[in-house]
Symmetry: C2
Subunit: 519 residues, 2 copies
């Protein structure tokens, strides 16, 4: 498949139907496809050749939707940039994938001079913001009005379509290379799970630089539906868009759900149009899922698990398993099962398949597995060894193929030949009433290879002795899993950019000058 | 994708769940996958190498299901043979694709000596029938019990998976080469349309040598569902299987629907389990569709249009367009719209896209388009010219992308530069009360290139003059479409093996020694 074919099918089905709604602007499929073919013509006239990258640094908008397609239509590759990065980080990504063309909007206008100084590969900046273009930039609207539409270059199949940068919390960011077939496979699985069609009116509320939101752009076009886009998530904007445009499908992540459910006037919004609601990107506590189900009793829920390298979904928990009683209960805390075209396995450190119930690394095979990491052949070979994507997540599978996540593999501690999952130890420590925060890491140990080490922050006004933590753990988990050493700190633990406890920083003083098995 | 991955996913989800029900036999997914891995081992032990063909000549059965996978698991290619052919025709197919291994059942036992004489490529015959193997044949059950299971050879993607022979009414049969990706694409579209999952219990009632039934074998495995197989269609066997096994999905063709609806005790069967019902393979009159809807008010209907070369579906009419009133009415006589991963166009004789409403040839692009015809590179190049599968069907598209079939392109007559569709003329002639049967063909004409010629059989006791037919047509259709000559016959018109009027035979005396544009 090639991703641009969805545009032609949507135009054939609903040429005069609404393709996109953004604020007060709305365009038909005839208009959007014409604009994409013109924007692609602009890219070619600026020198873009097949396989060249085009980047965008902007908040979500109707122009961002066009950016999802125009580089592909022109034969190139689409690179959406994280809007939360500092300029030096953005520059590093641009220097990595060397696009000659960069699109920016109002929010990033002031960064442009520094970006151009740092990344001289960028030779053309297109103003995709509102109002006239600042000096030195190409005006998006004026340029596409003045450029003739070109024919689709028809790149597809295994051709590179997009680079989505991930990570960066540990070491260099990785540009995940996704092909036309990768992203099409993801969309076909979404259809199989959700039955989207030309009546689908989908709200994109997450940032379009992230694949959790972005993959649905391709999906909604491929089903000839309607895109509703809000520039940035707020619970009010989310609910207003649903009510105003009779949105029937959306994706949320747990923090969004929490914010929505906390709104005092939640009941004032008419959410009756919602038919399907997907959630994922981070584990969603069961209580939160149940509250969403209560809010939207008429909606089908779908939990998705995956990662950018998997385009992004590899497993799903369909609505029929959102049950707390009956034969389908007990799966709500799982990450679901392999989606239609995916294969999932749990393997040990030597990539041998493990039987149900045993914890190991989750690996995935199928048409949604990325082509690799841009310019990082060694990391690619490591991640895709044996033809399987190694997720870095540890988990187990039950007898019916449901996968339960346990931990990140790199947070697993191997002590005396036994695997200890840090979350299991942390869960035990958190049960102590005096503990406010804790983290469990592996530290070098002459005898055991690694030893279980806990760092604990007591609650305000409480005190806790290291021995007390260890004794407490002994009443809850096996002896070999209990911390061999405990450090009590008064200051809060360091956080990563994703607001998780930053274990890399915690581990560092212990491992300085030594190589740790996984990082 | 590779088609065998569905087996592993089904085993992971429902290892002890029922995979297949055939008469009194039923097997779990663990059993079926193990048997397939053993049968594949048998094939390899008989000398099968990657890419080698294995053929089967048998009625549908649980072993036929295993045959759909074992050649693929072994790295080979599956060739199901038409059970309606005469021995010389079967021999011709075997000589075309040269399998060393042939599976047969009871119904074809007596043909084996003649087949082996005619097709010496066949070196091993495996007895897939009931009871002990006849002399000289390998016993299926004994051999797989004695053979160790092998690892899946993991052929997939664009590798050849199957050869399905089509046509043969005009000239040599063509072996349609379908890849793993072709057939997987078809299944993914089926999921998008029908939402099949591991709860699907699907009845295969059509012959498994034909892709209309066969493609659903791959689909049901890929959704981890349950296969219910009956050896041959009878309306009673069909309805009994639904009732007994609580079947919730099935495929029918119009003649099957007619036979089912004619059963006097139809109301005695419990069909409440049916959730989705697909129909296609031939145009189904609206009145018949409405009667099926009346019989199964709780079921979702899906019409599919396609051909073996399209794996086989390229367009679908979903349930929501099965409407006779309201904004969705008027589509029931169409062949639906391009399915999710398909692109469809109507083109003229020079492959230029035609606007809505204009009649031309239906062409299709997408991952479901065959690799080509086995050993027939010229026919392949002709059928796939410009990257589009040329269906040979003439039709037009409305403003919403719905395709309406008009005729076979080869039955189109070009007279004085105008296209005349024989069905349109035939429909006009059939409106004459004295006409029992008619066929309209193009015959050579010095002045017009081709001239419209009608062959008419009057009803018993009626007489009709050629001029009367022409005059009658003038009151209904444009002058250039009216027959220039009419031949009245008393004997019935010749029928093709597919029970259609055999126009090739009718045209032959007129075109002997001349080349007709299309055939």
């Amino acid at each position: 498949m090639y991703l641009t074919q969805g545009l032609k099918r949507a135009r054939q089905f609903r040429g005069n139907g609404r393709a996109v709604i953004f604020g007060e602007r709305s365009r038909t499929w005839n208009e959007v496809v014409d604009r994409i073919a013109r924007l692609a013509g602009l890219f070619r006239s600026l020198g873009l050749a097949d396989g060249d990258r085009v980047a965008m640094l902007a908040h979500s908008s109707d122009r961002y939707l066009e950016f999802y397609y125009a580089p592909l239509w022109a034969g190139g590759v689409m690179v959406p940039l994280n809007t939360r990065l500092a300029v030096p980080e953005t520059v590093a990504l641009l220097e990595d994938c060397t696009p000659a063309i960069l699109l920016v909007d109002d929010a990033f206008r002031d960064q442009v001079p520094d970006i151009l100084r740092g990344a001289p590969c960028v030779r053309h900046v297109i103003w995709a913001g509102e109002g006239p273009a600042p000096e030195g930039m190409i005006d998006y609207e004026a340029a596409i009005a003045a450029t003739a539409p070109i024919e689709d270059r028809l790149r597809g199949g295994n051709d590179l379509a997009c680079l989505f940068y991930t990570g960066g919390t540990t070491g260099r960011s990785k540009g995940v290379m996704l092909s036309h077939d990768n992203l099409s496979a993801n969309s076909m699985n979404a259809f199989a799970n959700m039955g989207f069609n030309e009546d689908t009116v989908h709200l994109h509320s997450g940032p379009l630089f992230h694949l959790a939101a972005g993959s649905r752009v391709y999906t909604v076009t491929l089903c000839a539906g309607t895109h509703v886009i809000i520039p940035r998530f707020t619970p009010e904007a989310f609910l207003e868009a649903i009510q105003r445009h009779r949105v029937n499908a959306a994706v949320i992540v747990p923090t969004m759900a929490t914010m929505i459910l906390a709104l005092p006037n939640l009941k004032d919004y008419d959410l009756s149009s919602i038919e399907s609601f997907s959630y994922g990107a981070a584990p969603m506590p069961e209580a939160l899922v149940l509250r969403v189900m209560e809010l939207l009793p008429h909606a089908r829920l779908l939990q998705s698990y995956g990662m950018t390298e998997l385009s992004p979904v590899c497993s799903t928990l369909p609505h029929r398993y959102h049950a707390t009683t009956g034969p389908r209960a007990g799966k709500l805390n799982s990450a679901g099962r392999a989606t239609y075209s995916a294969e999932m396995r749990i393997v040990d450190a030597e990539d041998r398949e493990l039987p149900p119930g045993e914890i190991g690394e989750i690996v995935v095979r199928g048409p949604m597995v990325m082509l690799g990491y841009w310019n990082q052949p060694e990391q690619t070979a490591e991640a895709l060894r044996g033809g399987w994507m190694h997720t870095g997540d540890a988990g187990y599978m039950d007898e019916e193929g449901f996968v339960f996540l346990v931990d990140r593999v790199k947070d697993m501690i191997i002590t005396g030949g036994e695997n200890v999952y840090s979350t299991e130890v942390e869960n035990a420590i958190y049960k102590h009433p005096s503990v406010r925060e804790c983290a469990v890491i592996g530290i070098p140990d002459e005898r055991w290879g690694e030893a279980v080490h806990a760092i604990v922050v007591p609650r305000a006004g409480c005190e806790i002795a290291p021995e007390e933590v260890i004794e407490h753990c002994r009443t809850l988990i096996a002896g070999y899993k209990c911390p061999r050493s405990v450090e009590v700190r008064s200051e809060p633990l360091p956080l990563s950019p994703a607001n998780k406890i930053h274990k890399v920083v915690l581990r560092e003083p212990y491992w300085k000058g030594r190589a740790r098995r996984v990082n």
